[in-house]
Each structure stands twice: as C-alpha cells, then as structure tokens.
C-alpha cells in the first residue's frame, strides 16, 4: 500500500523551503513474517487436539479436552491481538525524505524509538549500501538501505528497513550525497 499524496501532506510540518521528496512505508510483506511462528503453534495445538479426540489408545479426562479447547481459543485471540498491533505499527510507520532531512517516524509504538531524524545539510552522506539479508529477500526485492554519514557524532547508519521501493531511496540518497535535493 503506497503512501498517497494526501497522506504525505499531513504527515509533516514543513520548515520554510522544505519539500517532501519521498515517503514510504515498510514493504507489506513485513506484516507476514511475525505470524509464521504463532500460526505454526496454533496448527500444532489443533492437530494435537484432533489426535486426542480421535485416538482410542488411552482414556482422557474431559477436563483436558476443555483445557485444550480453551488454550486453542486463547492462542487464536493472542494471535489476533498481536496481528492488530503489527498492522497498526506498520500502518503508522514512515520513512520520509525531504530536501533537508531524512526521518523514520513511528506514530504507533509501545516503547522504543518514536522518531529518528538526520539533517542532511549538517551531516553529509558518506556511503550508501543496499543489501538483502538472505537470498529469498533478494528475489522478492526486500532490501535494506544503509546510509552512513561523515560525522563522528552519528557513527551508526540510518537504516531504511525493507522499504517499499529500496532502489528509489538509494537513487534519492545518491543525489543527496553528490548535490542538494531539489
């Protein structure tokens, strides 16, 4: 889901002369990865419940069936609440590049960084690295963009983690490194 023009306009209070160059969310596939383990647990629990209900090897206390069923319901509830959090976290998280600064904004988070902001004029870009952490991500074009700066106060890179269009961000940061963004 790409960020619309309307959303771009209301996301940022501009300083004079500041212009938004690019606004991106994380790639939508980042919503799917946190669910792999919980879904696996639910499927395993479901299979155990089915197996226990159809087998005839040993007699099972009815209370155990109830316990399993309620645990199953609880696991589904937990996954649903976790899913709501993951979706909202993704929906209200933006990478914003303007002609003066780059920002990572998290408007919906329970703890952690809310805002990471680097002013390009004060911290010139030294190095840009676009990389995928594994071959599958490489095939799906789920790449991270690392931006390093020529400044001792900011030794750690600014990381665009799996943005929607990593190549676009790389191109924009390259322009920012060699000349000012218009």
């Amino acid at each position: 889901m790409h960020v619309t023009e309307h959303e771009k306009l209301i996301l940022l209070k501009h300083s004079p002369g500041e212009k938004i160059v690019c606004v991106q969310r994380q790639h939508w596939t980042s919503l799917a990865f946190p669910f792999i383990l919980p879904v696996f647990i639910i499927l395993t629990l479901g299979e155990v419940a089915i197996f226990l209900s159809v087998q005839h090897f040993f007699v099972i206390n009815p209370l155990l069936y109830e316990l399993l069923f309620h645990s199953f319901l609880f696991c589904i509830g937990g996954v649903l609440v976790f899913g709501v959090y993951i979706y909202l976290f993704w929906f209200y998280q933006f990478y914003i590049v303007t002609n003066k600064r780059i920002m990572h904004r998290r408007h919906f988070t329970l703890g952690g960084r809310h805002n990471d902001e680097v002013f390009i004029d004060a911290t010139p870009v030294r190095e840009i690295i676009r990389m995928a952490s594994n071959p599958i991500f490489d095939l799906l074009h789920l790449e991270d963009v690392y931006v390093y700066f020529q400044r001792l106060e900011r030794p750690e890179p600014f990381i665009f983690k799996k943005p929607e269009e990593p190549r676009e961000i790389e191109n924009i940061m390259e322009k920012a490194a060699v000349k000012k963004l218009d």
Partner: protein
C-alpha cells in the same frame, strides 16, 4: 473435579480479560496516533478490529458457559 473446573474457568477468564485489556490499550494508543497524524485506518481493518473485540468477549462467555 468441580474445583479444578472452576479454577480452570477463572484462569481462562483472567487470561482473556488480560487480552481484552491489551486490546483496549492498543485502541487508546491508536486514538493518539490518529490525532497526531490525522490518518484513518481503512474501513475493512476497522471492521476487523471490532471482530477481534467481539471474539475476545465471546471467548469469555464460552469459557463461563462450558461444562466438562
């Protein structure tokens, strides 16, 4: 036997109530995010969130009414 069943019920009611409390905290946090960004989540997702709340409340009822 009955005492164990009651303990099991109380345990799961507390668990589901905890999940509902977490969900309510998320909704309150969402309200703040909407105020600062003025971005509303799509209608489909809002319906989904209501469904999650109904599911959690329904689970509490199921636990209370269940008989081993």
């Amino acid at each position: 036997m009955e005492i164990i069943a009651v303990i099991e019920k109380v345990f799961f009611v507390l668990l589901f109530s905890g999940l509902l409390a977490v969900f309510a905290a998320l909704v309150i946090r969402l309200n703040n995010a909407v105020k600062t960004t003025k971005l509303l989540i799509p209608l489909r997702m809002r319906i989904g969130f209501i469904t999650v709340a109904v599911y959690l409340a329904g689970c509490i009822v199921v636990v209370l009414l269940s008989k081993p």
